[in-house]
């Protein structure tokens, strides 16, 4: 039987959810910043190296923006780079960077992570569009979108050079990194703490900001698949990859 949720409870859950959402966003941006910083080591071209540092700085600014909002609303966000999922993402990226695999790194950062960022920031931004936090999420979503656009041409060219080799790599990256993101966004509350949410799993409180994990995850997967389509990955292939992810 469903129990009615009081207004007070909803208000409490709203602020708790907002705090957890900001915590996840900040940690994600810091992971992005670290990834780009690490990526500079895989690049020989000086100009590309500088561009990479610029990207890292961009992610840093996003993290700063979210932190400022948290401070403004007095929300006790948690920054924990050893959090279960974000740590795994960082380690995965580091493995591809250690191999000096620039394309593998781009697939992780600019396709997988940015698709989640763009889609989820957009959804959160729309849900909170009447306040400053919502506007910030929407603005950052737009900036992250440019990162995806930037990578599509590069990755498409790579696929055209060696389709079989590219698809093999994209598949390996998918199972390596997207599996972590799928576990993070699994459509039920996490059994153990992820190390980022302040209390119980934030998925239980998303209702208070008019969101739900099913749509957040679904929209992110939708953008991911569309991005792979645009790169030129056969649709049935990406469908198979996504079908194999944990739900």
């Amino acid at each position: 039987m469903q129990t009615a949720i009081s207004t007070d409870q909803k208000t409490r859950d709203f602020w708790l959810a907002a705090t957890d959402i900001l915590s996840q966003a900040i940690n994600g941006e810091i992971v992005g910043m670290s990834n780009f910083a690490l990526l500079t080591g895989t690049i020989d071209d000086v100009h590309e190296k500088m561009e990479c540092v610029e990207h890292a700085n961009c992610e840093r600014n996003h993290a700063m923006g979210f932190m400022e909002i948290a401070t403004k609303f007095n929300l006790p966000v948690l920054i924990n780079q050893d959090g279960r999922f974000w740590k795994k993402v960082k380690e995965t990226f580091a493995r591809w960077a250690a191999k000096k695999d620039f394309i593998g790194c781009i697939l992780i950062q600019e396709v997988i992570l940015e698709c989640f960022a763009v889609s989820m920031y957009h959804d959160v931004g729309m849900a909170l569009k009447d306040n400053e936090a919502g506007q910030l999420f929407l603005a950052i979503a737009k900036e992250e979108e440019e990162h995806i656009e930037h990578s599509i041409d590069l990755l498409r060219a790579e696929l055209e050079k060696d389709a079989a080799g590219f698809l093999e790599k994209a598949e390996a990256v998918h199972y390596d990194c997207m599996t972590i993101m799928a576990e993070w966004s699994v459509i039920r509350s996490c059994d153990d703490s992820c190390g980022i949410c302040a209390g119980d799993c934030m998925k239980e409180r998303l209702y208070a900001v008019e969101l739900d994990i099913r749509s957040l995850r679904g929209n992110a997967m939708n953008l991911y698949m569309k991005t792979l389509d645009r790169i030129g990955v056969p649709g049935v292939k990406s469908l198979e990859w996504v079908a194999n992810l944990p739900i």
Partner: protein
């Protein structure tokens, strides 16, 4: 997959009518590694963007072969109602973009997706290379031929029958009425919108045709000898006890689930309508018949999808069926004759539970 070729003869755009088929398809796709429950599939399915999922080759008895792709819209079987209208329209538009990207000469909108072309604005046929058709003309042609066949089987003279059309104001429903209204004793019209229904009944009566209309099927069922049901959802109040014992029912809706809704009543007098059988055969690559497109009769398929195949065989790259109420008897005869030329005929009578023969 068709995406690698620069041109394909046809594209079929569709959606699934059951979670069982969807979970079967996912299992096939993941080579048996992934077995989702129906509720798990429901959590993710409708977020998948439309895409070509397999290639199709259809063979004519003339020796010709045409090749195309099936584009799945990933519209959820539970979300076909008005509440999801906007979202579904968007998905159909995205699927149409896939057909254009594949350079399909002609594409058909199967099942529910045809409503995009049945509106006032045909925004799909906007001058792009790919031409879109609803496939409704061939569907209607197969429905009427199969109902005639069923009548012959049970020794029923059309002139003595009262025909109930559920979904009478729709594109296919009005085409069936046009075909039968002067052949049967009386037409009984059922649809959801009273005003349109009354106007249709009045129009038929002015032409001297015995017609009775109601939005409540219970008012009409006791009189019906023949039923053509063209509905995209469960038909409310289809009470088997109200029906005549020797009724013949053509389930031409999508999904074709009336036999299940009626819980076994009339299973030997109810057939799936609007289906055609391809004598030359067809094949899918990858071969996924058993999990995705399986019927109790060999080589059958939906008439709406086969219309695109016929147009491809004939190099008729045109929006053959568009709008609502534009299906004429001449057009039905024409597409039916072309279908026959290529060995595509109304299917043997069957329903999801059994083949009649």
């Amino acid at each position: 997959m068709g995406s690698q070729s620069s041109h394909i003869d046809f594209a079929l755009i569709g959606h699934q009518d059951s979670w069982k088929k969807i979970t079967g398809f996912i299992e096939f796709l993941t080579k048996g590694k992934r077995k989702l429950t129906e509720s798990q599939a429901a959590e993710v399915y409708s977020f998948i963007p439309p895409r070509a999922v397999f290639d199709i080759e259809v063979r004519s008895i003339t020796g010709q072969t045409v090749r195309g792709s099936y584009i799945e819209t990933f519209i959820s079987p539970d979300e076909l109602g008005l509440r999801y209208w906007k979202r579904n329209m968007f998905k159909v538009q995205e699927a149409a973009a896939c057909a254009r990207q594949l350079n399909a000469a002609v594409a058909t909108l199967g099942g529910f997706t045809s409503i995009v072309l049945e509106g006032r604005d045909d925004s799909l046929n906007d001058g792009s290379y790919t031409k879109f058709t609803t496939g409704n003309t061939l569907t209607a042609a197969f429905i009427v031929r199969n109902l005639e066949k069923a009548c012959r089987r049970f020794g029923k003279e059309l002139g003595d029958q009262q025909l109930l059309v559920i979904g009478a104001t729709g594109d296919i429903g009005s085409a069936c009425l046009e075909y039968f209204s002067r052949k049967v004793k009386k037409v009984l019209l059922c649809a959801r919108q009273q005003v349109i229904l009354d106007a249709l009944a009045a129009k038929l009566q002015r032409q001297g045709i015995a017609a009775q209309a109601s939005t409540d099927i219970r008012q009409l069922l006791p009189q019906a000898d023949l039923v053509i049901a063209i509905a995209s959802s469960t038909i409310e109040n289809f009470v088997p006890e109200l029906c005549k014992k020797d009724i013949i029912i053509c389930d031409a809706g999508y999904p074709k689930n009336l036999v299940f809704d009626l819980k076994g009543y009339f299973s030997d007098r109810l057939f799936s309508g609007g289906m055609g059988q391809v004598q030359g055969g067809y094949s899918f690559t990858p071969e996924i018949h058993h999990s995705f497109y399986h019927f109790p009769v060999e080589c059958v398929g939906h008439g709406c999808l086969q219309e695109a195949v016929i147009l491809a065989f004939e190099n008729m790259h045109e929006p053959f069926s568009t709008g609502k109420g534009n299906i004429t008897l001449e057009k039905m005869d024409r597409i039916y004759a072309l279908a026959n030329k290529h060995g595509i005929r109304e299917s043997p009578l069957f329903n999801p539970l059994m083949a009649w023969d």
